[in-house]
Symmetry: C2
Subunit: 421 residues, 2 copies
């Protein structure tokens, strides 16, 4: 069992992680899948211990006056443990990204080159108070042949230790290196900072949590980062939209879970349908007490709308607020979105073929939808079993990241004595 | 013509680059290839102007006492201009990376997803005194639909301006946006620093030059970076090596061009062949006055060898120096290389099938060779027409970077009104 009082030596943990990663990178698919299924079974079998540890975290959280929404994210029950276990089972059923040949060719010098997918090595994940990240991240890292090096928030530390101890015991019983999954049990800021600078051992660091938390990690880290999360998402209601479809999608994208990065924050409406669709949008959103902000045209059609400021167009509310703008044509919609978006998820509602094509080609974002809610930008909904985050950068990975996105490539070159002239 | 005295406004240049990138990202392959061929022809047609500008740089360099090797890198002649033009023609003949579908599937919710290759947007390149980088970078960026935002060293400024003016005029005559290629004509450190912080407009920044230069850029930049260049490359002479092949490859990899990142720096030799191969290696390298450093076994076999220190194993000499170590077995060779290498290029010399496989699977590097010189790690030799650098990082791109590596992806999702439950 991990001991909370042990002095943490990140260098030793890093070395152990590298050694585990070396072995894990060469492990066959069937062995990895069997281990993932055993981890899932062991999590369920060990439910009562995990729930006991979780109760300590919950009691501390209540004593410290944690907000109800946060307590809900921290709370585990047998259903949620089964959910995590099923996530591992789903990951086991996905294709193994390792060993895939991306391309291959013979050069003018007669060298045979193949570009093969290989693990990144040691993947660091630094996250806030959601214990499910421990299991999701460990599962995706394991499937992609990477050692997982985890550091969760102090609010969930007892739950995280119980979860990672279960996974490590399971690995050991499978005859594998338990250091394929390691959790830093010291939740001090000093150790977090030390982890963010552990370039010698960590190949990448992925922060998961609030925008504020991610920004802090990006600023402090010396390990290469994959940035996740910021979402100022738009839905454009084209002049050729099916307006009922538009209203349903907008309501879903705004209120089904307003606090997340793929919730819609802005609606752009073509002027030819503004008079008809704006009152419908307003009526539908009013049932959920969504505050509407808008430009002058919107205000003239919806008297209750508050004037939107320049700042509104670039703000991610993560709340029951939406801002609406009316445009003259699709070009104006596209250029407004490309100017203010965070390159996360954008959707056009239209029945017009040419406009659907233009929007998808010209919008610069990780995911561009036609006639669907932006809420589908999610590793699970994309079919990746779980997600390690949603990348909002252009380098390495873009959009929901699953096991594939935790790989890099290696060129293997076969020669017969070639030298360069 | 670019005026050296104009006050540089990087924000305006950045906006112009983004506008050009938006158009360039949608340009068809045939139009891009025609423009690349015209750029090649125009470079050759404009040779005399380019050489006149280059002469100014050369005269300044000589007056300032620049080293001969540096002057050689700065010098252009009609052959070198033809070489740059042929590079553009080669890039035109390569497949267009844009629009390629990496994968596609239908989700449980009935959404059709494709992941399509798209340009990064605006690619910044910051480089030292080699004018050919201007043309290579512009060509690769153009083919991959990216606007090139270039800043070269002050030693080559007149040559770079002549080259970029030629390319921009050529683009304009092709009816395309000349701002697809922009060169910053102010070579002050202040403007370089401003460029490294231009996150609003640059999607990526790639430094090209010496290790010291690249390190400086990595430390100062706020734009996402692709790190290139460090190469502490090894050749392992296995007990089953063809020793003549080994000696030829080692000599080529060490002396054909010792100053570059893919030159070999370390030789690891299996103990069973050390007595036979070490004198051969020593004899062959002595013709080029290569200094040999070695461990105790090497020193006992080669009396002239200098004792290698711990520091030697991690040093990239970029010079006529090599360090040699004798190992007991292939496992020891692999673990030494993985400990000290810079993950660039490593080669095994062997006629044994199992050992060739083990080496390629277990070595962690961008390129892993069997029976070939490490000097082949190069965009041109890989068949990429030119290269934008050799990535030594694991994220985004690894090894020689051509047009493919200047792309990202976008998920296009087709729905029929799906909302998330």
């Amino acid at each position: 069992m991990t001991d909370l009082n042990t002095k943490i030596d990140l260098n030793t943990m890093g070395k152990d992680a590298q050694a585990a990663a070396f072995k894990l990178g060469q492990l066959g698919t069937l062995k990895k899948n069997a281990a993932l299924n055993k981890m899932a079974d062991d999590l369920e079998a060990n439910s009562s211990n995990i729930l006991t540890a979780n109760k300590v975290d919950l009691d501390n959280a209540k004593a410290n006056g944690m907000a109800t929404a946060m307590i809900d994210r921290l709370m585990l029950d047998t259903d949620r443990i089964k959910g995590m276990a099923d996530g591992l089972r789903e990951i086991s059923e996905l294709p193994d990204p390792i060993g895939k040949i991306d391309r291959g060719w013979t050069t003018e010098d007669g060298l045979d080159i193949v570009q093969e997918r290989v693990p990144l090595g040691v993947v660091g994940i630094i996250f806030e108070a959601r214990p499910n990240v421990t299991v999701d991240a460990a599962g995706l890292c394991f499937k992609s042949g990477n050692a997982a090096f985890l550091r969760g928030g102090k609010e969930a530390i007892n739950s995280n230790i119980a979860l990672s101890d279960t996974l490590r015991k399971s690995l050991k019983e499978s005859g594998l290196d338990e250091n394929s999954v390691q959790l830093i049990s010291d939740t001090s800021h000093e150790v977090a900072q030390e982890m963010m600078e552990l370039s010698e051992y960590l190949d990448v660091l992925i922060p998961r949590g609030s925008g504020k938390f991610i920004k802090m990690v990006v600023n402090k880290a010396k390990v290469p980062i994959i940035e996740t999360g910021a979402g100022n998402c738009h839905i454009y209601v084209d002049e050729f939209a099916d307006l009922d479809k538009a209203v349903k999608i907008i309501v879903n994208a705004k209120v089904q879970r307003p606090s997340v990065c793929n919730a819609v924050e802005k609606i752009i409406v073509h002027k030819n349908v503004a008079n008809e669709v704006l009152p419908k949008i307003s009526d539908a959103l009013s049932k959920y007490n969504v505050e509407i902000r808008g430009d002058e045209t919107v205000q003239s059609i919806l008297p209750n709308a508050i004037a939107a400021t320049e700042e509104d167009w670039s703000t991610e509310y993560n709340d029951y607020i939406i801002a609406i703008k009316v445009v003259d044509n699709i070009d104006e919609a596209i250029s407004h979105i490309n100017k203010y978006n965070t390159k996360h998820s954008e959707s056009i509602i239209t029945e017009n073929y040419a406009n659907s094509r233009q929007f998808q080609k010209q919008i610069d974002a990780a995911v561009v939808y036609v006639n669907a809610s932006t809420r589908f930008t999610d590793g699970n909904k994309f079919g990746f079993g779980a997600e390690i985050g949603i990348s909002t950068q252009k380098l390495h990975a873009r959009g929901p990241m699953g096991a594939n996105e935790l790989t890099t490539t290696k060129y293997l070159v076969q020669g017969d004595g070639q030298i360069r002239k």
